[in-house]
Subunit: 263 residues, 2 copies
DNA sequence: TCGAGTAATACTCGGAGTGAGAAAAACTCG
DNA sequence: CGAGTTTTTCTCACTCCGAGTATTACTCGA
């Protein structure tokens, strides 16, 4: 930020009031479908419409505000930092929110996006393993998971925010180990493949996926164990893996069908 | 944005005042070096320190605010939209700012990042062909281009903002035709390679680069012309190209030396 | 208990893309 | 003119990919 000379001594409080909020695009996978957390709006404007959870920023960092909003709406209590964290081994006292990956998505501040006043909203993207339906918390009563393809006609510019979040999520699956943020601490290659299938909305060749995941250094590491049972519809007991220490996937797992890349 | 029930009728103007600003990381290439536009701060805090250009958001979109700040600091006048635009053919009346590519980088809002009050700053990233030294405009007198490796100890959290901007720029060169935003409307493959060299800070194999650029559909298209003269230090007259219509490069031009990818 | 169906895993094959190096040709400058 | 430089094109070996096939180990229902 810079004050030009003519702004010297300028008091920004004299500006028309600007409110800063955070909105959260929280994604999870339930029953093999990619879902987003929405709340039902009770008040005007957009009363009765669904919206992304969010609220005003208090005396806290933007990251903290996003995590707080997510905690309030899901009824879960934040345990640790906003970065995902492996409690490899037994389940410690950490909240389920400890495993949530949170990152800033973008900021939406067009005049008029909220009819009441100028509101600048910082959107966040959250990735979580399958979380319980948020009914517990008092505040969370109005929040629920909705499959992303049914999340339309949202309040404000939230259709756009959600679309941007989905595109970000799909892209990040290609070159980061983000998919493991959707699984439990231990998972099978098949479960990992289902994450990609749900987010990308495309079937993947099981054999090639298997080969590629295991060939990327640091993506997954074997636990040496297998599941206790085979799949529900048959098949051998798959091996179990946990997330490795890679931050970027190399080589990347690129999405198929990329003819639509040129303008 | 969502108002929880207990916020019904809440007036956000009762919150401690929050100011919203835009900061611009404007990059260009001068003499083969990647440079960023900085201003010298005259007032406290951080008087005498260098900072990214920026200022308060007015009644305008965030994108417009960023373009306005950039125009004010460079002394150039904005002509068209914020998106880059090809005036293929003759030079029309458009400003040099028409060819600037502008995109949102991220938002920085830690309490205390500005000692005076709570300031939430939306950072933008701008890419421009070599622009004149900004001396013309009244307001721009304090702004100048600085090689990025000499841009240290900036005011506020601008070291971090600049670092984030550089990483974004380096990454986008890999999978988008962004490099053409640093060149003139017509350019040679060698000039394009120098853009990559300057931004990535690494030498590239000329033969392989040539092959890859021409093999990516829609990256560049031939004008059928060559330059009037060969290079200053010799070599044949290179062919001229202009930007194609691709929005994403496929296959991508990946950076070399990727051992440092894992945590 | 058997047989059908399914999933995990491991192959093979041909094609595309890549880094490194070589080389021919075209041009500048001294 | 000659040395040095750049553009442009090849070659070669290697990696990676998509598609297909095969094997094996399961579950479940008849």
């Amino acid at each position: 930020m810079d004050e030009a000379s003519f702004l010297e001594g300028y008091d920004p409080r004299k500006y028309p009031a600007v409110a800063v909020t955070v909105d959260v695009v929280a994604l999870t996978i339930r029953d093999g479908r990619l879902c987003v957390l929405l709340v039902e709006r009770g008040a005007q404007p957009f009363a009765g419409r669904r919206a992304l959870p969010g609220g005003f920023v208090r005396e806290e960092t933007l990251d903290q505000a996003a995590l707080r909003e997510l905690a309030e709406e899901t009824g879960l209590t934040p345990g640790g930092s906003s970065a995902e964290e492996d409690t490899a081994g037994g389940h410690e006292a950490g909240s389920e929110l400890d495993r949530v990956h949170l990152e800033q998505l973008g900021t939406y501040g067009d005049p008029g996006r909220d009819p009441r006043m100028r509101v600048v909203s910082v959107a966040y993207l959250a990735f979580a393993p399958s979380l319980p339906e948020p009914t517990a918390g008092s505040d969370a009563a109005r929040a629920y998971w909705v499959p992303v393809d049914e999340a339309k006609d949202l309040a404000f510019d939230h259709d756009q925010v959600l679309a941007d979040g989905l595109e970000r999520a799909r892209a990040k699956l290609e070159y980061t180990p983000l998919a493991t943020a959707f699984t439990g601490p231990e998972f099978t290659i098949g479960e990992l493949r289902q994450v990609y299938t749900a987010v990308w909305g495309e079937e993947l060749h099981a054999g090639n996926f298997h080969r590629k995941v295991l060939s990327v250094p640091g993506f997954v590491e074997s636990t040496g164990e297998t599941t206790a049972r085979g799949g529900e519809r048959g098949g051998p007991k798959p091996k179990l893996y946990r997330a490795g220490d890679a931050r970027l996937l190399h080589p990347a797992l690129l999405r198929p069908t990329r003819e639509d890349r040129v303008r």
